[in-house]
Symmetry: C2
Subunit: 103 residues, 2 copies
DNA sequence: TCGATATATCAACGAATATCGAATTATTAG
DNA sequence: CTAATAATTCGATATTCGTTGATATATCGA
């Protein structure tokens, strides 16, 4: 993880539809959800959602696998965790006891 | 924390200058840093930085206190933590053991 | 092969955002 | 009060972003 990567992830999440997709997939866990199911759930146009899914995928916080003609999207838990850790690394330099973020 | 709040924080962080400011203040901890010192460190125009600081403040992840004619900015650790927790709540619904995020 | 289903890509347009120069407010020192 | 310093606010402009309609690609079943 580095600044460029983190900002890319933040930009991907900084839009309400994409944020909702992200959290939905986090909740679903490894089973994931098809693009169509997500579109239906969020009541978003199919092509609009496709663009959003592409942005989240490019940022590395979700992935997909094809199953027949449907694409199953899933959250990338490890990358998400790396990203979150990066946000607060070196908190309170020298005095980590002042932080609420466990190392 | 709610979706609207989280997206506001994400939008605040999704810009390289602001992200750098955020991480700088996280690193500094409770002692904080003046607006001028931040501008000098980042080599950013003073009014541009002011706008950025305002956006981070409105999002609730930093605050400031006046000391004479300088404003000292600090990270809001508790809000930052609440935000991060919110990102991954209910991960892998029903099977938290699949997650890398401790409850 | 043909039609249907699932999803992605492209071009265009309006909305939101970052930055800059200029002006403004607040505080302190003389 | 005046000058100097620290920082914010305003107006304008150029760039980026989200959505949409239309079209394209991939897979499946008959």
């Amino acid at each position: 993880m580095n600044d460029e990567n983190a900002v890319k992830i933040l930009a991907a999440l900084a839009q309400s539809t994409r944020f909702y997709v992200f959290r939905l997939l986090i909740r679903k866990g490894p089973s994931g959800l098809s693009a169509g199911a997500i579109a239906k759930e969020l009541k978003v146009a199919q092509n609009t959602l496709s663009t959003h899914l592409n942005i989240l995928t490019a940022a590395g916080i979700i992935t997909y696998t094809r199953e027949g003609r449907t694409l199953i999207y899933r959250s990338e838990l490890q990358n998400t965790k790396n990203f979150m850790d990066y946000l607060v690394t070196d908190c309170c330099e020298g005095q980590p006891e002042l932080c609420s973020f466990g190392k």
